[in-house]
């Protein structure tokens, strides 16, 4: 009977599952945060007003092209393949670099599996977040930019003090979505041997040959994780849009002075 097996597997292997959960959450939390930072940076660079002349124009152009290639590459290839390419490819690239310029800067490209996993998921998240942030910045009213410029703020000051705080609020739901996707997508990191939930489950199933029951437990674990995370994010969203922004204060308008002077 399968139900008995479910319970038995859970009881016998709970420590392994727990370690898997820890690894999955560690990678997805760190990668979502790093990815969001990458996305914000790219979004800001992407919206720098076009320069008319000078060296700046060309520097900006080069940066834009590089960033575009990055975004297109990571959005256009499967994360599973990226993980393989990064983990097995990096040492080869560093050898090539050493042959070419004589030094590999003391870094031979042989990286920890977890680190490679975080790197791949972060870069992936960053590529998606870049588009989300760009949309968030574009959706901020042009008047906000103009008002900030009119009091003498540079592009960076405008972004940091006026636009990004508004963008953060706009992109929070999309960022949460990305986080939930990362929890699930870390499963593909099992191909480079990261001991997250899927990898652990495969090991457990390999021992007891009960594939359905083991993976059914993994299913439930993923479901519980994503539901909890979604609820936590909802709570933050509610707090952010809370009273302050929608509730008009009537008493205040009543107390309006007769003569504003």
């Amino acid at each position: 009977m399968s139900l008995e097996w479910l319970v038995n597997i859970a009881v016998d292997n709970w420590q392994m599952f727990l370690r898997g959960i820890g690894m999955t959450m560690l990678i997805s939390v760190i990668a979502t945060i790093i990815g969001a930072v990458i996305g914000l940076l790219i979004g800001v660079i992407d919206t720098i007003p076009k320069q008319k002349k000078g060296v700046k124009k060309y520097i900006l152009l080069v940066i834009r092209v590089v960033l575009r290639i990055y975004v297109e590459f990571f959005r256009g290839t499967p994360m599973m393949v990226q993980a393989m390419v990064v983990f097995y490819g990096l040492p080869l690239i560093m050898i090539e670099i050493k042959n070419l310029i004589g030094t590999d800067f003391g870094f031979d490209g042989d990286i920890n599996r977890v680190f490679a996993g975080i790197l791949v998921v972060s870069l992936n998240t960053g590529a998606y977040m870049a588009e989300i942030v760009r949309g968030g910045i574009i959706s901020v009213d042009q008047g906000q930019f103009e008002a900030a410029q009119a009091i003498g703020m540079s592009h960076w000051k405008t972004m940091i003090h006026v636009v990004l705080p508004q963008v953060m609020r706009n992109i929070l739901p999309a960022t949460g979505n990305q986080f939930v996707m990362n929890i699930k997508d870390t499963a593909v990191l099992s191909v480079i041997g990261v001991t997250e939930i899927f990898f652990q489950t495969k090991s457990i199933a390999g021992n007891n040959f009960r594939y359905f029951e083991s993976f059914f437990i993994a299913c439930l674990i993923y479901l519980v994780l994503t539901i909890i995370v979604t609820q936590i994010l909802r709570y933050f969203e509610r707090r952010l849009n809370g009273k302050a922004s929608y509730q008009m204060i009537d008493e205040m308008s009543i107390r309006r002075p007769e003569n504003p002077m």
């Binding site: 009213d141 008047g143 008002a147 009091i151 705080p165 509730q247 008009m248 308008s253 002075p257």
Partner: protein, 247 residues
Amino acid sequence: MENTIIDIKNLSKSFGSHEVLKDINFSVKKGEVVTVIGSSGSGKSTLLRCLNLLETPDGGEVNYDGKNILTHMENVNDYRTKLGMVFQQFNLFNNCNVLDNCILGQMKVLKRSKDEAKKIAEEYLQVVGMSQYINARPAQLSGGQKQRVAIARALSMKPEALLFDEPTSALDPEMVGDVLQVMKKLAKDGSTMIIVTHEMEFAREVSDRIVLMDKGIIVEDGTPDEVFNHPKHERTKAFLKRALKNN
């Protein structure tokens, strides 16, 4: 001419093939209140926006204190702090409350200390009659209140001149009075002001000079008495006839 602060020469600006400003010559003296009137699409707002370079002119000179700003674009942010701008759509920073709106520029651009910035902001919020709304967010204010905060924000930078871009056009008639009253007070106190407006009575009352624009050129430039009572051009007469009838 030594107290001329803004002096525009041969200014031109096109959007695509549409010439919005054609060879504009225009100057403002310190302490002067200049009102720019004209029908919609005549280039009034564009002229104002060219003054603080929110629009980059295609040709001509924008001289401020005798220096052509267009040849010193690297100082544009310094220059903009000298001109306070008030927008038709208020454009208060939505992420900040009333007080923060007024101190953000002071602290981040002018590098004033928080205490000093706060003191200055409170002083000007008092002037515009908004001091009891100090913690309100823009979403909680009516249009007229937002515009008065926007004026306080501009004043808090202690600019040398103020630019008003149709400050009352997005307000309902009841709110217009509050805002105009604040502006009248500023005009009386000797601020240099350049105002784009459709409020003819207000223009006549507060202005030292009135400029009428039509199709990208300045048609008439004179005292309120000259423009309203003795207009030289047919175009002015026609515009005033229509504008005053509507009021």
